[in-house]
């Protein structure tokens, strides 16, 4: 009998092409997602060496980081010259190398990590990579998914493999159920608050426990998306009935007898009883509150009922970093979080740009007007946008005073024109609150879509539970 294995062990074992004596493995890659920012140098490398894309049918490209999200984006003048060149390069590379492609004009275009699952490219038990750290998102399906650099993008394009050493196993268990007003975003931020941004370094996290099981697939994607902010390259959730129900019927999901065969295989994808984890973190679902970040690292997380901490209370060389955070964020120790006034609200990103996120925000906004200077919703894909319009959510956002945008990464990383001005304070549903992330000098507080909506209608950070009836 073989030793009990974790979910990560099983997926890994099924993808080893070759193992060297020193343990270095060549790992097969089932899906390679590509966007315009981290791929041009990789395609250029192929051209210079006369190499081809080994598996164009397993390679999927979509422009998302640079593209404007304003309604007039078909007009080329809405893009800067360098952005236009980058998107044009992806158009050309997709055509020249014959890979699957969703151009800006396609309704299926959107953020790469939203498009992959939506189109059924992402399936349980697969290896998925992309030149983007939030590739961890796809782990929600029980797929081993992680970000890679451009050199590795070129390596995967040329060989459909990656040279890898196996990481360690880490289990994050969320027991019990979440309380009302608490969401997947609060889980994932709370875990990072607990473990720190380096807590998962060298590990693949498997999220498990009742509260994880009770999440929808979209919630699970939110949780896995931010595994990277906890330092882990990948996060995983074992597939179950919810996973299969999400996948069935998607354009690139298997059909008929192949579906049945896939299903039988997927049902073997769970961590065996007694399998070893190198690190275990357990959090009670009932203990998780709606949270926000106060600083410039995703680990700077506190319940919304809390106060801005004093830097001198930190240890491990973090006193200086905490003081720097407070200076950058323009906050004072002891200030109540709910007293922090907000200028701008951003709802979107690969973390929280899916239909359920928009529903959660709209439920809070309905019948209210924003009290912030500006607020925008950027759906994660053209299809999410269309569905939100059909459900009447778009009208709720517009009536409240939000801008209703086209799909893209937008203000999550502010490579396109959607940026914060210096000192502008934003309630954001995205994933990083680093200095300058949303624009030089911009101040970011991360939170769930419902919490961002609550801040939009009160004009300050707000405990969404107070607005729920």
């Amino acid at each position: 009998m073989t030793a009990p294995r974790t979910l990560y062990d099983k997926i890994w074992d099924d993808h080893v092409v070759h193992q060297a004596d020193d343990g270095t493995c060549l790992l097969y890659i089932d899906r390679h997602l590509v966007h315009e920012v981290t791929s041009p140098q990789a395609f250029e490398g192929l051209r210079m060496t006369g190499r081809r894309v080994r598996a164009p049918d397993k390679t999927i490209a979509v422009p998302d980081h640079n593209v404007p999200t304003t309604l007039d984006r078909a007009n080329a003048a809405t893009m800067t010259e360098d952005s236009r060149i980058q998107v044009a390069a992806l158009d050309k590379n997709a055509r020249d190398f014959g890979i699957n492609y969703y151009p800006v004009s396609d309704i299926r275009q959107g953020i790469v990590h939203i498009v992959g699952p939506e189109q059924g490219w992402t399936l349980p038990g697969m290896t998925v990579v992309c030149g983007d750290s939030h590739t961890a998102t796809h782990g929600a399906f029980g797929a081993l998914a992680h970000g890679i650099g451009t050199s590795e993008v070129e390596h995967v394009l040329a060989t459909q493999t990656l040279i890898q050493r196996k990481g360690r196993n880490m289990k994050v268990e969320i027991t019990g159920s979440l309380r009302p007003g608490v969401t997947a975003k609060d889980i994932t931020l709370s875990v990072i608050g607990e473990t720190g941004t380096a807590g998962g370094t060298g590990h693949v996290i498997e999220y498990c426990g009742q509260a994880i099981r009770e999440l929808s697939m979209e919630g699970r994607m939110t949780v896995c998306n931010m595994a990277i902010e906890g330092g882990a390259r990948a996060g995983l959730i074992a597939p179950d009935e919810k996973t299969y129900a999400y996948c069935i019927g998607r354009p690139h999901a298997p059909k008929g007898a192949t579906w049945e065969a896939a299903l039988a295989y997927w049902k073997t994808l769970f961590t065996d009883e007694g399998a070893h984890f190198d690190k275990v973190v357990t959090i009670r679902g009932e203990d998780i509150a709606p949270v926000v970040t106060w600083g410039t690292s995703p680990e700077d997380v506190l319940p919304i009922t809390g106060m801005v901490p004093a830097p001198e209370t930190f240890t491990g060389g973090k006193v200086e970093a905490a003081q720097r955070s407070l200076d950058y964020m323009g906050l004072t120790a002891g200030q109540k979080l709910t007293d922090i006034a907000i200028d701008t609200v951003f709802i979107g990103s690969c973390t929280n740009g899916r239909i359920e996120d928009l529903r959660a925000a709209a439920a809070i906004l309905k019948g209210h007007k924003i009290k912030v200077k500006r607020a925008m919703v950027v759906p994660g894909s053209g299809l999410v946008r269309a569905q939100a319009e059909e459900e009447g959510l778009a009208q709720i956002f517009l009536d409240a005073g939000f801008e209703w945008r086209l799909a893209g990464c937008s203000m999550c990383l502010a490579m396109n024109p959607d940026q914060l001005a210096p000192g502008e304070r934003c309630a954001a549903t995205s994933n990083r609150n680093f200095e300058g992330r949303q624009g030089r000098g911009g101040r970011t507080h991360l939170m769930s879509p419902a919490m961002a909506a609550a801040a939009a209608i009160t004009g300050h950070l707000t405990d969404v539970r107070e607005l729920m009836v």
């Binding site: 097969y28 640079n66 502010a414």
Partner: protein, 201 residues
């Protein structure tokens, strides 16, 4: 890729923890389709004011560290995005080695693909080297990849661990795509097998 063998140089002290890739190279510089030319924007928002003037206090703007080839950094260096523009910018500036107590995984990997050696050492060793770094030209640090050692200015030697394959590639400046393509038969065999066991993939 330029091989990395040994290096003796000035180290810049950057004790801040969690120096992320947005700090190393802000996103407005990711719109390039080249790998070169990013050095002038390394640490851009820490290094320059909004109107492009140098911020004199920033370490790499100070005369002692303008020609630094090594960075001694706080914990979790390179966290954040997967952008390889971060090591490209470091390399273009002239940094060939970064020493810290820990690195984010993707950044760590990306360094090896670009002739940069990331060295992980225990906190006491990093603190010792940080003191050297603060002395600039008066306390050069030596790094020897073959022997896996870092030697402080006072002669104290710290040994570090590095993956054997990564070390081999970096020492010889090898293109790992070429190495992998030598295993094309194994990849063909795997694909043939997977076509029956996992045809949906």
């Amino acid at each position: 890729m330029t091989p990395f063998t040994t290096l003796t140089g000035i180290a810049a002290p950057m004790p801040l923890v969690n120096i992320d890739t947005d700090m190393i190279i802000p996103k407005q510089f990711l719109k390039t389709i080249a790998r070169t030319g990013l050095g002038k924007n390394l640490f851009d928002e820490m290094r320059y004011t909004q109107d492009g003037a140098e911020i004199p206090e920033f370490v790499l703007n100070q005369p002692a560290w303008r020609r630094a080839e090594i960075i001694v950094a706080g914990d979790n260096f390179g966290c954040g995005s997967s952008r390889e523009h971060a090591p490209w910018a470091l390399l273009d500036f002239g940094i060939r080695c970064v020493i810290s107590t820990s690195f984010a995984d993707i950044f760590y990997n990306n360094c090896f693909k670009n002739g940069i050696l990331p060295v992980v050492l225990p906190p006491e060793a990093v603190a010792h080297l940080m003191d050297d770094a603060k002395k600039g030209e008066n306390a050069r640090i030596s790094v020897d990849l073959a022997n896996q050692t870092v030697t402080a200015a006072d002669g104290v030697v710290f040994a570090f661990e590095v993956d054997a394959f990564k070390k081999h590639c970096l020492l010889h400046g090898l293109d790992d795509i070429g190495l992998t393509l030598e295993k094309a038969a194994s990849i063909d065999a795997y694909e043939a097998r997977a076509a029956t066991t996992r045809p949906w993939a």
